[in-house]
Point group: C3
Chain length 161, copies 3
């Protein structure tokens, strides 16, 4: 039933985004079909195949000195049998403590999903940004990091999920 | 059935917000009933009728040098037959590259919706802000725009929706 | 039925978050079971019992000079009979106009919920931050507050909910 499929597809996207910010690269691979494709930055960066996509993510976000918050909103998901198409609004914040910059932006994802056996997976993902901006973290009045997943909050005995 | 009506009302709000950030003014009109009313800023700005509301939006957000991210969260929607009421948390970012300012804020929407033929539409919308702040974009350490819908990401051959 | 329980649990979380930003401390108590526990900051701050948790919230966020935006996203909620477990992504902004600072961050909540009579309530809540940062509000180029719930938008004759 559609409402249930839409719910499973939302869970897939939420798991993907959580794994992205928690750097769970092994878990993230399973979010994509093997032949998944990606087109980021309105088509500026394109990738073919799950391994290619995950390699790009690890290359860019693998360091624990890169603290990220990827958030999706406003799901407009249409299911057609074993295929689905989803448009999402997103915003993201990337704090790089090596290069002392904050990159933040907003835009819209256009995804395609496929029922792969009994699992919905991402078969295509792409986004086009409304805006993206880069700001310095050095010489900014009184700006300091006060907590992070891999430092202060690492004391957590809570399961991360 | 209520769950389905709530789902359609969420899709309506998400389409409205997407059209707002993508400046799809023709599509946005259809999100409102003809006699829709709006009360923004806790009642500081009020509008009567769909045309009046859309004219206000175009006047304020029409320029492609105004890059916006309007996001709604936490839907609390109650349906009563062909009427519904929805409370949403929101946050928004407005970057004006002509006036070199960023306006950002958060608050709560109180909407009313009506089943207009076979379509749910917004019959009233209003918000009250928890806060709004204005920041300069000139003289801010290392701040620069690195992507935008109508420039860099315009290369996109992806459908915007 | 699960989909309905998940929906009620989302409404509970959204009501809790709205009460938090609108400082509705009486309403917030009812969101928790009497023996609810909390573990914030990855376990740095722990509280036992509804009264203890609410007292902490009032102590930290009670002043109307503290303007907050707490937002949750990406619900991954699993229901097991009269218990449920939920993981949420979150981001928050806290503007303190007495101390002239903005605290902003992102992370993940891990909640437990219980069906208490006919009402779902939070029986445990905890979060671990991906990051948190503190920024000054004095000496920041052109930064000013332009609206707030308890000032400008207080004129509202709209119901807050």
């Amino acid at each position: 039933m559609d409402l249930q499929a839409v719910d499973l597809i939302k869970r897939l996207k939420y798991r993907y985004l959580r794994c992205l910010d928690q750097k769970r690269w092994d878990d993230i691979a399973g979010c994509f079909t093997e032949d998944a494709t990606a087109a980021y930055g309105g088509g500026a960066y394109t990738f073919e195949g799950r391994d290619d996509i995950v390699a790009f993510l690890v290359r860019n976000l693998g360091r624990v000195t890169v603290l990220t918050s990827h958030r999706c909103h406003h799901p407009e998901i249409d299911v057609h049998a074993e295929r689905a198409r989803g448009v999402w609004a997103f915003d993201d914040v990337v704090i790089d403590t090596d290069f002392n910059v904050t990159v933040s932006g907003a835009g819209f994802y256009t995804d395609e999903y496929a029922l792969d056996g009994d699992q919905w997976r991402i078969s295509h993902t792409g986004y086009r940004r409304t805006y993206e901006q880069i700001g310095a973290r050095e010489g900014v009045e009184g700006l300091r990091l006060s907590a992070s997943w891999w430092a202060t909050d690492g004391r957590s005995d809570l399961p991360a999920e």
